[in-house]
């Protein structure tokens, strides 16, 4: 029971991290960036390439943690830049167009990233193996008789830390004020002297770098890096999206809650119900939440976005 709880929290915090990015972009632009899941994949692959080309090897001490942080930061910056580029090339020209056009474009961008990623000189079609930068064969401590591993602690801490940082950024900073302004009324915010394009670019940068952080932690945990168009990436993106919606899309704390819920539900149904049906339970939860409270658990009706 306790063991499954811990597995659930550990996978849940990964979903939460990725859901934060979905929610961030939705909060400002009211549109779902379906390419977000693919940016997670890009972030993961970039980390793998960086770690391999820098020759980082498995390390049980603090060196490994530092190397992992280093790899993650570079991947976040590169991936964030890519998110800005995607927004500029694909979404910005459509800003005045109906919502549906942007949504379709997002799916197009997603396919473009997947297929470009499969080219032999990009990521290729083979499975990669990530070095165990953070040693995960020795537990950090025991809770009862359940071993707790360093990596899982790091992932959870990072997810919670980033959630609070984002919360502060959006509600307690000038940029955040501009973001909230853009989310309420673009034209008026622009009239107030806010550079709307820059605020949106920044939103994409943060959202996408969170995707990269999620991707990096994901491969540090599971180590097998599947090829770009693999189903596991699609499922990861989809489940994070469900997490964002269940928690209340546009709501940062909601994304955290949603991620945890999905992670726990997945692990508990796999353990105590049937592993065959665990995905069905996840998507059934989405339907139930949408029926009972369409704005999500923590979403408030209409007004407050972000």
């Amino acid at each position: 029971m306790l063991e499954t709880l811990i597995h659930g929290i550990s996978t849940g915090s990964l979903y939460a991290l990725i859901a934060l990015g979905y929610t961030m972009v939705y909060g400002v632009l009211q549109f779902i960036n379906f390419a977000h899941g693919d940016l997670v994949m890009v972030g993961a692959w970039l980390s793998l390439i960086i770690a391999t080309s820098l020759g980082f090897s498995a390390d049980s001490g603090i060196g490994g943690v530092l190397a992992a942080v280093f790899v993650m930061l570079i991947s976040m910056v590169l991936c964030g830049g890519m998110g800005v580029l995607v927004e500029r090339l694909a979404y910005r020209p459509l800003r005045q167009a109906p919502r549906l056009n942007i949504l379709t474009t997002a799916i197009g961008v997603s396919l473009l990233i997947q297929n470009t990623g499969q080219l032999p000189f990009v990521f290729g079609t083979e499975t990669g193996t990530m070095t165990a930068l953070i040693n995960d064969s020795l537990p950090m401590f025991h809770l009862g008789d359940v071993p707790i591993y360093t990596l899982d602690v790091i992932i959870l801490t990072l997810a919670i830390g980033l959630m609070f940082a984002l919360d502060r950024l959006v509600y307690r900073s000038k940029v955040g004020l501009a973001m909230r302004g853009v989310s309420h009324d673009v034209d008026t915010t622009a009239l107030m002297g806010v550079n709307v394009d820059r605020v949106i670019s920044l939103t994409f940068f943060i959202g996408t770098s969170l995707a990269a952080a999620g991707g990096t932690l994901y491969i540090l945990k599971y180590r097998q890096v599947q090829q770009p168009a693999d189903l596991s990436w699609i499922m990861l993106g989809l489940k994070a999206f469900v997490a964002a919606v269940v928690g209340g899309i546009g709501n940062i704390r909601g994304a955290m809650l949603g991620g945890m819920l999905i992670g726990l539900l997945e692990q508990f149904t796999r353990r105590y119900q049937s592993p065959e049906l665990s995905d069905i339970y996840v998507f059934a939860l989405l339907i139930v939440v949408l029926l009972a409270k369409p704005t999500g658990i923590m979403g408030k009706p209409v007004r407050t976005k972000v």
Partner: protein, 386 residues
């Protein structure tokens, strides 16, 4: 904003021109002095190893045959299509090959792919030989579909018998991929034989190809206290499963089947597969077959590495086909299928090949052990007699 709007258009235009110019359009007919053979294989995607290794064997067989004057005095030309390990792509690839009027089709390794292709080949009277699909349903599709490997009821028997007789493990847990017909079929076959031979199945857990987290299933398996864990999956997930199993405290040996075969399995699993076993088609070290030793020398000379069972089966599938083509009065689907069915004691690399009435090949099953990061031969088990 307006300033930039030409840019995405330009990018789209440039990429689409590039893509269009890359895709070739078949065109042209088959010259009289050529025999065309199609192969659909997973050269990329989740089971890329399967396709790539099989292609090595097939290509070698074609080149050797052409060097000896081809078949019926004609040159053999091989067309390989990549199905990316997806059934929809397989169907497209096979339709394309049939449309180009190939004389026969070779493929696939994964039973799910062969099952997708077989009905199309059968409908079009196109003989198809699967080098290594073991699910019994594949050849049941019709009289055009053949295979040069053993089938899963036999492989399931061998794994069960080995666990009980050699490892003395009377309790087994099963972890299978519910998305692959190969895996579900083999899991059932193993379970049936294991019970018949006196063992008990402690639990049977499923995952879906593409899953990366197996902790819940493995926890259930650990708590059921098996003496062995049977994992009839494909190599892609096996290293992750092994690493997570050991982390969760499962210490008993893991047992797999021919789907585990890939170059760097032990390396990918980071030593966590030490002392584990899997069944396979072929023991390259078996010195009793001169055909095999000779083949290995040529394979090594050509590719600079040792052969895999899948490459050897690809080689055998192609050569069985050439043999039948030589004997067939014409290369029409009917004549060719008849000639194939009449194959008698063909001296293949992986064993003697005879087709039974279901167009399957009866072959012994080899058990390998992973030791020091390498596969070592353990024993050979004959298929059950009945």
């Amino acid at each position: 904003m307006k300033r930039l709007s030409w840019f995405p258009m330009a990018v789209i235009a440039a990429t689409s021109t590039a893509i269009l110019s890359m895709s070739s359009c078949g065109g042209g007919g088959k010259p009289d002095n050529e025999i065309w053979i199609g192969a659909y294989l997973s050269l990329s995607g989740q089971q890329a190893t399967f396709g790539k290794t099989t292609e090595e064997g097939i290509r070698m067989a074609v080149e050797e045959r052409n060097a000896k004057g081809g078949v019926k005095g004609k040159v053999i030309k091989l067309f390989v299509e990549d199905n990316k390990g997806q059934t929809s792509e397989t169907q497209n690839a096979v339709k394309r090959l049939i449309g180009e009027k190939v004389d026969a089709i070779l493929g696939e390794v994964a039973s799910g792919q062969s099952l997708a292709a077989a009905p199309i080949c059968q409908q079009n009277s196109m003989p198809m030989i699967s080098p290594s699909s073991t699910n019994p349903e594949v050849t049941k599709v019709g009289d055009m579909i053949f295979r040069v490997c053993f089938i899963d009821p036999d492989q399931g028997y061998a794994c069960a018998k080995f666990s009980i007789d050699d490892l003395k493990a009377m309790k087994a847990a099963i972890l299978y991929d519910q998305k692959q017909p190969y895996s579900t079929g083999l899991a059932d076959n193993f379970e049936e034989w294991y019970k018949k031979l006196g063992g008990t199945i402690t639990t049977k857990q499923a995952y879906s190809g593409g899953n990366v987290d197996f902790s819940a299933q493995l926890t259930t398996i650990r708590d059921s206290k098996p003496g062995i864990v049977f994992i009839p999956g494909y190599y892609n997930e096996v290293p992750s499963i092994a690493i997570q199993a050991r982390k969760l405290g499962i210490e008993v040996p893991l047992l797999g089947a021919d789907g585990w075969e890939t170059d760097d399995l032990a390396k990918k699993a980071e030593g966590k597969l030490e002392g584990c076993y899997y069944s396979n088609h072929y023991d390259p070290d078996d010195a009793s077959r001169p055909e095999s030793l000779d083949y290995q020398k040529r394979f090594k000379a050509k590719y600079g590495k040792g052969t895999s069972a899948l490459a050897a089966l690809g080689y055998d599938a192609a050569n069985v086909l050439f043999d039948a083509m030589e004997r067939a009065p014409s290369l029409s689907g009917k004549d060719l299928a008849k000639a194939l069915a009449e194959t008698k004691d063909f001296k293949g690399v992986t064993g003697d090949i005879n087709f039974d009435k279901n167009r399957n090949t009866l072959k012994p099953i080899v058990i390998l052990k992973i030791e020091g990061g390498k596969e070592k031969y353990v024993t050979t088990i004959d298929p059950p007699k009945n």
